[in-house]
């Protein structure tokens, strides 16, 4: 043989290929090991670390000068989260903001997405998709400080032009967050409307239904999965946000702000407080799943 090594390599590769061909489960395992490992270690791992940390507590050294981490398991942190009115209020405020942002985005996005998906010409559609997603190209902080410049009660654009500004506070946080997460509501809804066959709308009209009836009886039920998808985005993004408050929120604090502040002071408590949005999201997803809306995603 002129090239003795070639058949050797060929033989090994062949054997490996043959092994995987005969053992489809092993092949599947090999394929999934990288993404599976990533999911397990980085994602679930960090979540487990968070939950574990939330069960520890800090104790003062007898000298009172240093604090030590007590790694015995207990629910003291959660007790504090629930029993102290401040923390309860912040959690409820964040929840309220997430719900309000979601409703605002849905109300504005529904007609726009309907126009984009069902009425506009192909050209106008493309332009609208670009227009809606364009803000995503700008950085978070850029948008935050741009809004700060608009809202500033002492000489911001709104103050100068309209003589009135929302100023910095809860309402401003909600407005800016609704602006920030708007594309995440519009795009799934647009995709939903785009998928909705024209013939369904025509059939409804043909059977005697006027526009309002068709919207309620045919369009909405078909668009619910998209609405749920968009809502999960806007809701969870708002729930986890904390920095926009520092830019336009004045003294308003969300869950994230508390976690951020406590992180360096009392890590186990910060961890316990961070578990709250996770619990809320899990609860929400379970509730949504019950309605069957996730089946069609």
């Amino acid at each position: 043989m002129t090239e003795p090594s070639a058949p050797q390599v060929h033989g090994v590769r062949r054997r490996v290929a043959r092994f995987f061909a005969r053992h489809p489960r092993a092949a599947l395992g090999a394929q999934l090991s990288a993404p599976g490992g990533w999911l397990l270690i980085i994602y679930i791992g960090s979540l487990a670390a968070l939950i574990l940390t939330s069960l520890f507590r800090l104790v003062d050294d007898p000298t009172g000068l240093v604090t030590k981490l007590d790694t015995s398991i207990g629910f003291g942190n959660f007790d504090r989260v629930i029993s102290q009115p401040v923390y309860r209020a912040v959690a409820l405020r964040t929840l309220g903001a997430a719900a309000t942002v979601t409703v605002i985005d849905a109300v504005i996005a529904l007609p726009l997405a309907f126009y984009m998906g069902k009425v506009a010409s192909q050209r106008a559609r493309r332009m609208l998709v670009v227009a809606v997603t364009l803000p995503l190209w700008a950085g978070y902080l850029v948008k935050g400080y741009a809004w700060r410049a608009l809202l500033d009660p002492g000489g911001g654009a709104f103050q100068e032009v309209f003589g009135h500004s929302l100023g910095f506070g809860y309402a401003s946080s909600i407005v800016v967050l609704a602006y920030l997460w708007f594309p995440f509501m519009v795009i799934p809804l647009y995709a939903g409307f785009d998928r909705l066959p024209d013939s369904l709308l025509e059939a409804s009209t043909d059977l005697g239904a006027k526009a309002g009836r068709t919207f309620v009886s045919v369009v909405v039920p078909q668009i619910v999965p998209s609405l749920v998808a968009g809502s999960i985005f806007t809701f969870s993004l708002t729930l986890g946000d904390f920095y926009m408050n520092r830019i336009v929120g004045g003294t308003t604090e969300f869950i994230g702000n508390i976690v951020y502040r406590q992180f360096s002071v009392d890590l186990p408590f910060a961890a316990a407080y961070a578990v709250i949005p996770i619990v809320i999201m899990v609860g929400l997803l379970l509730a949504v799943r019950r309605t069957g809306a996730l089946d069609e995603l």
Binding site: S199, A203, D206, L207, S217, P221
Partner: protein
């Protein structure tokens, strides 16, 4: 003549620079099974959509029972449509789909139930009321769409290629079913199809569409046996055209004539019998298709004649490619076209 159930009066529809329907006038009587037949893009579906109210004619009028409905929205017209893709509401079960039109009109629940049951009975789907559309086969969905339209007892039922998505066997079953239902309910059916066999089988009358115009309106027999134009002759069934020069050489008259393949046979006698014409030629193509063999013969007089030879006897000789043969046909089977296309002499009155 009594008031037609549906009438189009010089209806034209333009989409930008494209004229989809070009000055079409047609009258359809009550209780007819009327087909709009034509190739895709010939304007038949646009015509149907204008009757349904989904498209507004650029000019002209649509009348239902003599009443001008051109500008009436679909929900005000006493017309229902069976869509090509069925357009069943996926989130409603079969019964709710069928009841939809009645629910919208505010019919009481018990009556709604009853009429939906009756409509499902008509299409033989009584047992499927609780199923969702995605749990049905194509043929069943088709019948649900039919029931959903019929339950409203419209004056006219519009069907847009309703059998297009079905396989051949199911298609033939549904054709019989459609014909039976139309007889039973007695509603005027307007049926859009590109399948000439379907149109001939089902219809009481057929309008043949080409390039936005009607080439011919007539009974299936008239359309097939006396096609008015070359387009109709070639679109409905296969035809051989004997051009003017060939006709002069072969028939002694210089008028173009057309001939159906089943009227052409292989000559058996050496000389043409009384009333027959014989034409020698060369076999140019042979197609076997089960119940017959289709042979194309380039005749010496300068035309291409297709002969449909039944496969009757085993061992019967079938001509082979390149053979010299003589074909024969009755003079009386020759058809004369009134005009080459409708564009020389449109059927619709000029606005």
């Amino acid at each position: 003549m009594t008031t037609p159930a549906v009438a189009a009066r010089t209806v034209t529809k333009r989409f930008g620079t494209i004229t989809a329907v070009d000055g079409v006038s047609v009258e359809i009587a009550g209780g007819e099974f009327f087909s709009l037949l034509g190739p895709s893009g010939s304007g038949k579906t646009t015509m149907l959509r204008m009757i349904a109210g989904f498209e507004l004619p650029t000019s002209g009028r649509i009348e239902l029972d003599g009443e001008d409905v051109t500008r009436q929205p679909p929900f005000d017209r006493d017309v229902n449509t069976v869509f090509q893709d069925y357009a069943l509401f996926p989130h409603m079960n079969v019964r709710k789909n069928v009841e939809y039109g009645l629910r919208v009109k505010g019919v009481a629940k018990s009556e709604r139930r009853e009429r939906a049951e009756a409509a499902l009975h008509t299409v033989r789907l009584e047992a499927f009321g609780e199923r969702k559309p995605d749990q049905l086969s194509g043929g069943q969905r088709q019948r649900v769409a039919l029931a959903r339209a019929l339950v409203n007892e419209p004056k006219v039922l519009l069907l847009d290629e309703p059998l297009g998505a079905l396989d051949r066997k199911l298609r033939e079953e549904m054709q019989l079913e459609l014909a039976r239902i139309q007889r039973d309910v007695g509603i005027t059916f307007i049926f859009v199809t590109h399948d000439q066999g379907e149109a001939l089988t089902l219809s009481s009358r057929v309008a043949v569409f080409n390039a936005g115009r009607i080439e011919q309106v007539g009974t299936p027999r008239e359309i097939y046996e006396a096609p008015a134009t070359e387009f109709v002759a070639s679109f409905v069934g296969t035809t051989s055209v004997i051009g003017e020069e060939a006709a002069a050489a072969l028939l002694g008259e210089s008028t173009a004539r057309v001939l159906r393949p089943e009227r052409v046979r292989m000559a058996t006698a050496a000389t043409a019998p009384e009333g027959c014409v014989q034409a020698p030629g060369t076999v140019a193509d042979v197609q076997y298709h089960g119940d017959g063999t289709r042979v194309r013969v380039e005749i010496d007089a300068g035309a291409s004649l297709v002969a449909e030879l039944p496969n009757r006897h085993e061992g019967e000789s079938v001509p082979a490619l390149g053979d010299r043969v003589t074909v024969e046909f009755d003079r009386s089977d020759l058809m004369t076209l009134e005009r080459s296309t409708s564009h020389d002499q449109p059927i619709g009155e000029k606005p």
